[in-house]
């Protein structure tokens, strides 16, 4: 698989390590009333879709940036790659 890095261009997926579902960006508020429930869902439960999947890849053997890759889990086709930083900021995180 080739991941089209937004800054570096096409790179072999072997340069990256895989973390999992990009919903891991949305860390719950630890002070919320139902924080325990939210963290249980956040840490342990997954959509695990057959089809498009937004997922976190880390460019470990490259520029060490985190990416959000949109990939089809049935065909392995990659349709979109974004910097995780941009995605997180757009969602109002780590200002």
């Amino acid at each position: 698989m080739i991941i089209n890095h937004p800054l570096l261009g096409p790179r072999d997926a072997q340069e990256f390590t895989y973390l999992g579902d990009a919903s891991l960006i949305d860390r719950p508020d630890w002070q919320a009333e139902d924080a325990a429930d939210q963290f249980h869902e956040y840490v342990y439960l997954r959509e695990n879709p057959a089809g498009l999947h937004k997922e976190l890849w880390f460019h470990e053997q490259g520029d060490r940036s985190w990416l959000v890759v949109t990939r089809n889990t049935v065909t392995h086709e990659i349709t979109n790659v974004e910097l995780a930083r941009d995605v997180a900021r757009a969602r109002g995180r780590s200002k």
Partner: protein, 416 residues
């Protein structure tokens, strides 16, 4: 029809005209006491023990393809009872005991071969871990022997003992472990269940559930609605897809695992060996092919095929351990979809929906579990109580903090 040596001779002498299909091909009835979703090893074993042990015979197994087309026909056939943790080891020990009597029990030649499994160790720390695991196994009634390098050399002189980076310092030998003819397991259980009245319905996909007032009343399928007092999901790599139709999210990710077979060789490897310094394990089939595999491809996947970097990684592991296979040609490779759970251990449990049960999360190790999984799932379905060796396999164990994490790597499904 009972199979026996005498029968084989009789058929050989009479032109093999007496053999009959090993199971029927029925149309689904309107409703059943139990509907099992998934005709893999676990679904068929569940049907078999439901009908044989619990005398519940108004049962259907609904399979979207053909039985044995899933992971039960794609694995590398290794069976073992060498787990460390209390939540696991008694379950796998029951499974191995059931394997030991299986062929007589279901009157089918599944080629159960207890040829021994040797987990190699390459560092002092690995030796300590092996000793600890061996003790845990023995405490739970399994068998384990710690070998030093000479002990390993006596068994497999051709291994790469003096590799500068990964010297072989010994190994943990589990003599009762071994291999089984995988599809024969599906066929044997299917035949045994069918004989007792279970309907095995192939080419029929479950597309949804009928759930009213928190109770599951049956399943929607490509052959219409089938009513059921109890519905038992047992679909391995498809777990999230099926349970999503009941509105559930699972602590599971689906990942692809590849396996490989070489051209046929003369007998060279009479047991199973696992490399302790890389991802590679190997045995030799009765046809002579080396059967081996390694690590997951590491990313979520529902494609039953993997990518080349893992092929290369597995081959490198093989070469590091057994340099003699350098000229051997590969015959086939394939992939299967693993239901990787958040702690690497499985689930056999009720769900929050009345009458809906779940079995899954088997990761890359569910083949060895087939008999005990069927045994314990049938027990749960028949009595509504977990079997005593499967009490830890609850769906809510992450919420309550009772993970069964053999490797201690946390909620990272691809690392288990």
């Amino acid at each position: 029809m009972r199979y026996s040596g005498l029968r084989v001779i009789k058929e050989a002498l009479t032109g093999h005209k007496g053999w009959r299909p090993a199971w029927r091909d029925p149309e689904p009835k309107k409703s059943y006491d139990v509907v099992i979703i998934g005709g893999g090893g676990h679904g068929l074993a569940t049907a078999y023990y439901l009908s044989k042990v619990h005398k519940i015979t108004n049962v259907a197994v609904i399979e979207k393809g053909y039985i044995g087309g899933g992971n039960v026909g794609r694995n590398t056939t290794i069976i073992r009872s060498n787990y460390l943790l209390d939540g696991n080891e008694p379950f796998y020990e029951l499974s191995l005991k059931l394997w030991e009597g299986l062929e007589q029990d279901f009157n089918y030649n599944a080629m159960v071969s207890q040829r021994g499994i040797l987990n190699l160790v390459h560092t002092d720390a690995q030796r300590d871990a092996a000793r600890r695991r061996g003790n845990a196994m023995i405490l739970n009634g399994s068998d384990a022997e710690l070998l030093d390098a000479n002990g390993v050399r006596a068994m497999y002189p051709f291994l790469n003992f003096d590799n500068a980076r990964f010297p072989i310092k010994g190994g943990l030998l589990h003599r009762r472990g071994g291999t089984v003819r995988h599809d024969a397991v599906a066929w044997g259980y299917a035949r045994g269940a069918d004989m007792r009245g279970v309907d095995i319905i192939q080419n029929c996909e479950v597309t949804g559930f009928k759930i009213e007032n928190g109770k599951c009343l049956g399943v929607e399928t490509t052959k219409g609605f089938i009513g059921a007092k109890k519905v038992a999901s047992c679909v391995a790599g498809s777990s999230s897809r099926v349970m999503e139709k009941a509105g559930m999210r699972l602590p599971i990710e689906s990942h692809v695992l590849q396996a490989f077979v070489s051209e046929g060789l003369k007998p060279v490897l009479d047991g199973v060996i696992t490399f302790g310094a890389g991802h590679f394990y190997c045995s030799q089939s009765d046809k002579g092919g080396l059967v081996f595999g390694g690590d997951l491809d590491m990313y979520n996947s529902y494609a039953q095929r993997g990518n080349l970097p893992v092929v290369e990684d597995v081959m490198e592991g093989g070469m590091a351990l057994i340099p003699a296979i350098g000229r051997v040609r590969m015959l086939r490779s394939w992939g299967g979809i693993m239901d990787m759970s958040m702690d690497g251990s499985p689930f056999i449990d009720k769900t929050h929906i009345d009458g809906l049960y779940f079995n899954g999360g088997w990761c890359y190790g569910g083949f060895k579990a087939t008999p005990a999984s069927g045994w314990c799932y049938a027990h749960l379905l028949a009595t509504d109580k977990p079997h005593e060796v499967a009490t830890a396999y609850r769906l809510d164990r992450f919420r309550t903090g009772h993970m069964i994490d053999e490797k201690g790597v946390g909620p990272n499904p691809n690392l288990h």
